[in-house]
């Protein structure tokens, strides 16, 4: 699919990075020469993802060779990277445009396993989602059925490429011969807007945090006539902002797509058609083509239950270390999303909560259990609770240095961290920690 026959789009510009640009023909030959030095047998490679031409060439080449790739945040703290390497023992590590051998341990890898994405990339969670090329192809095709991406389009990267949404933008745009501007600067930087204007960007993608920042810097007061569409995924955007961006899109001849997905389903699960956005503002829409959304134990409108997704983009399963790479498909196309929601009488889905212990911190998915486990190795009687953009550590004793440890390891902003000293941890009758009760009492 997108990684093969890149040369068919000839001299169309595929990638831009700063002053450099690469046509599809050139991209094809860069991949060919990169591959020529590499072993033909299936390798496990850890790739530190940067928004760069080099990273894309390596990524595409590894896929073409049918390797299994572990995508890692290049900016992650070194000790977290090491933990991932120790657990997975990759044969090769690709970082800063250099490939080096890491481990000679022979690992048994399931033949169709192609991509491993962390369940929380920005905190370096070693728990990975295992995906196949089939997963990626099916999801890419489904997305291209509703997003009007053409070879005349130009997008700019706003998301990191170790993140499923960031990768899906690359996959869809390369599939149709569009141009991708590889940017690493924040959307509130001068550099970003210079590139944005220089390249006449037509497609913009972001998580709720990006839309909050765009609103904050006055985007909605401006006109961007070249912008054909905007997409939003990666969490629930506040209803008022959905309406404001939808109105802006309507006025500017643009389209605003609210979407829903998970890495566990490669990227995309559902989307809301832009012409339904005012009628169904809070909705995640309906399943993508080829997929099916339902509720676990009910089909009665407005009754809440866990959302279930079925489709060919559902992962093989999870892995926590290299021992779990030999296993084949464990989910058989059915994913319990862990998100709680309901469906209305027209078949549109809505999300109301989460059953798993994840929050979003300034756009990044954070697993509170992992933070708690990390702190448990230093302190006794500690519990971690949180809501979006706020993490609270509750300790039964007066402990020092908690915030500092979290900032050093995960790079969290201090304003998002709160510590409640000498408070009791609340337990349920079955002796499990009652996180919900603590959120109600302490947050």
């Amino acid at each position: 699919m997108f990684e093969l026959n890149l040369g068919r789009f000839k001299d169309k510009t595929a990638l831009c990075e700063g002053e450099k640009s690469v046509s599809y023909e050139e991209l094809e030959s860069l991949c060919n020469s990169f591959e020529s030095e590499l072993p033909r047998s299936k390798q496990l490679v850890a790739i530190q993802m940067q928004n760069s031409i080099d990273t894309i060439v390596a990524y595409l080449s590894f896929l073409r060779l049918n390797y299994a790739l572990i995508c890692i945040d290049a900016t992650l703290n070194e000790s977290l990277k090491d933990e991932i390497y120790k657990r997975y023992k990759p044969n090769l590590i690709y970082k800063n445009s250099q490939l080096s051998r890491y481990s000679d341990v022979k690992i048994d890898i399931y033949k169709n396993l192609s991509l491993l994405l962390s369940t929380s990339g920005s905190t370096g969670s070693p728990k990975m989602v295992k995906l196949t090329k089939e997963n990626i192809y099916h999801n890419t095709i489904s997305i291209l059925k509703y997003l009007p991406i053409t070879k005349r389009d130009r997008t700019i990267t706003t998301l990191p490429l170790y993140y499923s949404y960031g990768l899906s933008v690359i996959h869809t745009h390369l599939s149709v011969g569009a141009t991708i501007v590889l940017n690493s600067d924040s959307i509130i930087s001068k550099e970003f807007w210079e590139s944005f204007n220089l390249h006449n960007i037509t497609n913009l993608n972001g998580v709720p945090y990006h839309y909050e920042m765009l609103k904050r810097i006055g985007f909605l007061k401006k006109e961007y006539r070249k912008l054909k569409f905007l997409t939003q995924a990666g969490g629930k955007l506040n209803k008022k902002l959905v309406q404001e961006f939808a109105l802006w899109a309507e006025k500017n001849g643009s389209r605003f797509y609210v979407m829903y997905g998970q890495s566990e389903a490669t990227a995309r699960i559902a989307y809301l058609e832009p012409d339904k956005i005012f009628e169904k503002t809070d909705s995640i829409g309906r399943a993508i083509s080829g997929g099916k959304l339902s509720l676990k134990n009910t089909n009665i409108p407005y009754q809440e239950d866990e959302l279930i997704y079925e489709g060919k983009n559902v992962m093989l399963g999870y892995a926590k270390d290299f021992n779990e790479l030999s296993r084949g498909d464990e989910l058989h196309g059915r994913l319990d999303t862990g998100d709680i929601g309901y469906v209305d009488e027209d078949g549109y889905f809505y999300i109301t909560g989460r059953s798993k212990r994840f929050i979003k911190l300034f756009g990044n998915r954070i697993n509170l259990d992992e933070i708690e486990q990390f702190l448990n190795s230093y302190y006794k009687s500690i519990a971690v609770i949180g809501v979006d953009n706020s993490i609270m550590v509750v300790t039964a004793h007066h402990e020092e240095g908690i915030k500092e440890k979290l900032m050093e390891r995960y790079g969290f902003h201090h304003s998002a961290l709160h510590v409640k000293h000498s408070e009791s941890i609340i337990f349920k009758d079955n002796k499990k920690v009652d996180y919900q009760a603590m959120i109600e009492r302490y947050l």
């Binding site: 924040s186 509130i188 930087s189 001068k190 920042m213 904050r216 007061k221 790079g411 902003h413 304003s415």
Partner: protein
């Protein structure tokens, strides 16, 4: 005014006052990343009771620049 701006930087970025100088730049210390920048903008607006424009938010790339931009609003 320098001291008031300094105080806002200390609070928003969670840094020690001693490292703040005119040369302190956005993205050059890990505490002043894009997340911290948005928090800093909010704190500046609250502290000085002003509303910053898009270009000024994007331009505020050093402590010196921040002082310059804030004074422009206070004089207006």
């Amino acid at each position: 005014m320098q001291d008031r701006v300094k105080a806002v930087f200390v609070k928003a970025l969670g840094i020690d006052e001693s490292i703040i100088s005119d040369e302190l730049k956005y993205n050059e210390i890990e505490q002043w990343d894009s997340v911290a920048h948005m928090i800093l903008i909010g704190e500046i607006e609250d502290a000085f009771d002003i509303m910053l424009d898009t270009d000024d938010i994007i331009d505020m790339s050093s402590f010196a620049k921040a002082k310059e931009i804030i004074s422009k609003y206070l004089e207006a």
